[in-house]
């Protein structure tokens, strides 16, 4: 099955809506596709000890993160009937309400798309060495932990 490689996985700052639109359009050329499913991770204004998160600043162990993203993508393509997996993740500052993770999977059929997308997002959250520093309005911060 034809699969597409992504060129630039890490994006400086927030992921812009037009990048998402372009990815969706690109997949329209894959005429064996019957379903695309996407996940958008958005920075939430959590309130912690009375202080509200204003932004998350992402850093990563980049070489290992890229290896992990590739492993997750390969496993998803092996385990589910997918024709494409695209992953984009922000580095640097992403403000509340902006998008920090974009995953798109495509498949001939919806069920594989739902299941494959779920797998990819959960694996990213658990495995990939990306670290989010939650910044508050007063410039204090705390390190986020995925649950």
């Amino acid at each position: 099955m034809e699969t597409e490689k992504t060129d630039q996985l890490f994006i400086p700052g927030a992921i812009a809506p037009d990048l998402i639109a372009r990815s969706i359009s690109r997949h329209q050329a894959m005429t064996g596709t019957g379903a695309q499913d996407i996940f958008l991770g958005q920075v939430r204004a959590d309130v912690i000890d009375g202080k509200t998160v204003a932004a998350i600043e992402y850093t990563a162990y980049e070489s290992m993160a890229l290896t992990k993203f590739e492993e997750i993508r390969d496993k998803a393509l092996q385990q589910y009937e997918l024709s494409g997996v695209e992953i984009f993740h922000s580095l640097g500052e992403v403000k509340v309400g902006e998008i920090c993770l974009f995953v798109l999977v495509s498949s001939p059929h919806r069920r594989a798309a739902f299941d494959g997308l779920h797998y990819v997002v959960e694996e990213i959250k658990a495995q990939v060495p990306v670290f989010g520093k939650e910044r508050f309005a007063d410039d204090s911060y705390q390190w986020k932990v995925n649950t």
Binding site: A60, Y61, L101, A126, V130, F131
Partner: protein
């Protein structure tokens, strides 16, 4: 031996890399021994909900062997996405 630090481990140690002298590392043969050594030197590492070690870009087990040529990194709880 050089250890790369990320996220909160960088704050705890106060630097993005930690160079360990041969006098300390010659006795450290496994990932578990390295973790014990670092946790006793930087006790705040013990407060983390998890602390993994990556050897050459892969998560390692405590029993895995390490040497000076490996790329070693401390991985605190991840928070991507």
């Amino acid at each position: 031996m050089t250890v790369l630090l990320f996220g909160i481990t960088k704050d705890i140690v106060g630097s993005s890399t930690l160079s360990l002298p041969v006098s300390s590392t010659s006795r450290l043969r496994t990932v578990g021994e390295l973790k014990d050594y670092l946790s006793s030197t930087y006790p705040r590492l013990r407060n983390l909900s998890s602390l993994a070690v990556a050897v050459n870009n892969s998560y390692a087990e405590d029993s895995d062997k390490i040497d000076n040529f490996d790329e070693i990194a401390l991985i605190p709880p991840v928070s991507g996405g």
